[in-house]
């Protein structure tokens, strides 16, 4: 993936030992054929090793990617013996599914919800791991830091089913908070099923799950900052906040930009399972996002072509977003995602 590699011609075959007097420019045809055979003889075990992974991706990634033709079909699962035969037999309808999709107000509701949640989380979630990483990095006791890290990384490994379960048990109508408030004679608030505050709830869940995990990459970047910079600036009279502003944050900048790009490229994906699990409790109006929209229209109601059109639209917008964000990072003078060395 590196640019250096991309611009350098690939060295074909084993490098001939220096000083054998080989002609500088042998006949091009020979030169291309025999190293290929030699390379095949040398490299075939590598190709064999790559084969199982490549095959799995072909079947479960690229074949479904091609299967997106269903978005242009009036797909009928009963044509043929299985989904693949039905795919081959279903009639094409051009952009009909997309026309239907863009005319559906429920789709635009889901679209708006998705963008609102992404924007909300960019403001209220994205900066938190940076702050926690800086705080952890300032701890002098390695033992304390290790303990905190062990605890806060853990929820990252919980499934969304578990995370939502924990939230229901703590904050739900029959949960711990309601229980304590009722004991105190207060009326417990509706937290888990209130559509108006749902955006805060899902962000709180995401923070609970991934705040700790999100610090890892920032901690690594902080460890890479040259301590001499801090010492020199402290000697020059820079206080704690000025050092944070002029040394720490610039040190984190490439990582922040990288993660922002990835997040923007994924702007139309918010935790799918998280929303699917809570959609029924909160209602479609607040909890429907693009992914759950696809699920409910395609899998649950069987309108596959329509659902696939929504999915394909989302994938194409996502692709454009990530390429644009990457271009923007280059404009800012950052390395971005695709041109790393």
């Amino acid at each position: 993936m590196s640019q250096a590699q991309a611009s350098r011609p690939v060295v074909a075959g084993p490098v001939p030992p220096a000083g054998t007097g080989a002609p500088a420019r042998p006949a091009p045809a020979r030169r291309r054929r025999s190293p290929l055979r030699a390379r095949l003889r040398r490299d075939w075990p590598l190709l064999v090793m790559v084969a199982p992974g490549a095959l799995l991706l072909a079947v479960f990634h690229y074949l479904p990617a091609l299967g997106n033709v269903v978005a242009f079909q009036d797909y009928n699962p009963y044509l043929g013996d299985g989904a693949l035969q039905a795919l081959a037999a279903s009639p094409f309808v051009g952009l009909e599914n997309f026309r239907e999709l863009f005319a559906d107000p429920a789709f635009w509701d889901a679209f708006r919800n998705t963008l609102a949640i992404t924007a909300f989380q960019l403001v209220f979630f994205f900066p938190l791991p940076i702050a926690l990483a800086i705080l952890l990095n300032s701890l002098m006791s390695g033992r304390l830091r290790g303990f905190v890290q062990t605890v806060v990384y853990l929820p990252h490994f919980f499934s969304w089913v578990l995370v939502v379960t924990f939230f229901v048990q703590m904050l739900g109508g029959a949960g711990l908070l309601s229980q304590e408030l009722r004991d105190a004679g207060l009326t417990p608030p509706q937290i888990m099923s209130n559509p108006d505050t749902f955006i805060v709830l899902v962000t709180a869940e995401a923070v609970w799950k991934d705040l700790g995990w999100g610090t890892i990459v920032f901690l690594a970047a902080l460890a890479a900052v040259d301590p001499n910079l801090y010492e020199a600036s402290a000697v020059d009279g820079a206080g704690r906040w000025r050092r944070l502003w002029h040394i720490t944050l610039p040190g984190l900048r490439p990582v922040i930009v990288l993660l922002l790009i990835l997040r923007l490229g994924d702007a139309l994906s918010v935790g799918f399972e998280q929303f699917l699990l809570q959609r029924d409790a909160v209602g479609r109006q607040a909890a429907e996002v693009l992914d759950t929209f696809v699920y409910h229209h395609a899998i649950a109601t069987g309108d596959y072509g329509f659902g696939a059109a929504a999915g394909l639209f989302k994938a194409l917008v996502g692709l454009v977003l990530i390429l644009a964000a990457n271009r923007f990072a280059h404009v800012l003078g950052e390395r971005g995602v695709y041109s790393r060395s």
Binding site: M49, P64, A65, G82, L132, Q179, P227
Partner: protein, 302 residues
């Protein structure tokens, strides 16, 4: 109390000022809140799962302060009902899936670790392109069901068997192994498989442990694919049971003796949560020390 000058921390650099009392109090508060936010729910769920009916009634539900312990909820869920079956299914999927994923990932990562080898750039592009192209739910569903994997546990394994992210992590690690080591083995006549098995793998235990944990957690947590592909509730994995039992409120069949004093439903529910968390909480601390710069950040730099 505050008149005593605080001792400087021995590892604090000489140029760095000692934080003030307010700053220290703020740091302490933040860290305490963050840690308790994780530990309190775990504690309450664990304690409720081992509490007797009297303790649960006295607490009015979830138990925060231990009173009387009673482990009968665990006897119920391990007595051969749906939860026992789901735990077996999840264990099988996790063990078989992780083994398959590690083999495929390690082989492919090694096969892709040598720039200049035959078709190297093309193959690498083929793998990395998956980051940009997402097939989408509907065609994925059509392919998996079209292959006849409906109600097969393979549907929980094969579609997620290769994570290109994990592959990139392993590949980056392999590429940091000194080339001289591999070259000398090659001069001694060792083939690539032998080099991988005898030289590369023994040096890569840390990355294998981390990636193995990622895969295992992924398989253990599989829920949505089970919702899509598994209709037979005899084959439900534990997350699917947890969701239908606790979040959707459908009680699973347990084969406890009918009429005998059953433990309270809340204790059983919490016991299901505990057995879902337990494998992760038990394995993760041993692997956590390998989440070092080398492993995680190697991946970010891809």
């Amino acid at each position: 109390m505050t008149t005593m000058p605080r001792r400087r921390h021995p590892s604090r650099p000489a140029w760095e000022e000692e934080p003030g009392a307010a700053a220290q109090a703020a740091t302490g508060t933040v860290l305490t809140v963050v840690v308790l936010a994780v530990l309190v729910p775990l504690w309450v769920v664990l304690l409720t799962s081992v509490s007797s009916r009297e303790s649960i009634n006295a607490a009015g539900g979830l138990v925060v302060v231990p009173r009387e312990l009673d482990f009968s909820a665990y006897r119920i869920i391990f007595s051969g009902g749906q939860i026992t079956k789901a735990l077996l299914v999840s264990t099988l999927v996790t063990v078989a899936g992780t083994a398959l994923s590690l083999v495929v990932t390690v082989l492919a990562a090694y096969g892709l670790s040598r720039p200049g080898s035959l078709m190297h750039r093309g193959l690498l592009f083929y793998f990395l392109l998956t980051f940009l192209i997402h097939p989408g739910l509907v065609p994925h569903y059509l392919v998996v069901t079209g292959l006849g994997l409906k109600d097969s546990l393979w549907a929980l394994i094969l579609p997620t068997a290769v994570s290109v992210f994990n592959l990139v992590v392993v590949r980056a690690f392999f590429q940091n192994i000194p080339a001289e080591l591999l070259d000398s083995a090659r001069l001694d006549g060792a083939g690539e498989f032998r080099i991988l098995w005898r030289i590369v793998l023994p040096l890569s235990k840390a990355v294998i442990a981390v990636v193995g944990l990622f895969y295992a957690v992924g398989y253990w947590n599989t829920w949505f694919n089970a919702l899509l592909y598994i209709d037979d509730n005899e084959k439900f994995p534990i997350q699917r049971v947890l969701q239908s039992y606790i979040l959707a409120g459908q009680a699973p069949q347990t084969s406890g003796t009918v009429g005998a004093a059953l433990p309270p439903a809340l204790a059983i529910k919490m016991a299901v949560v505990v057995v879902t968390v337990a494998p992760i909480a038990l394995v993760y601390p041993f692997v956590q020390r390998h989440f070092t710069r080398g492993v995680i950040v190697g991946a970010i730099k891809g």
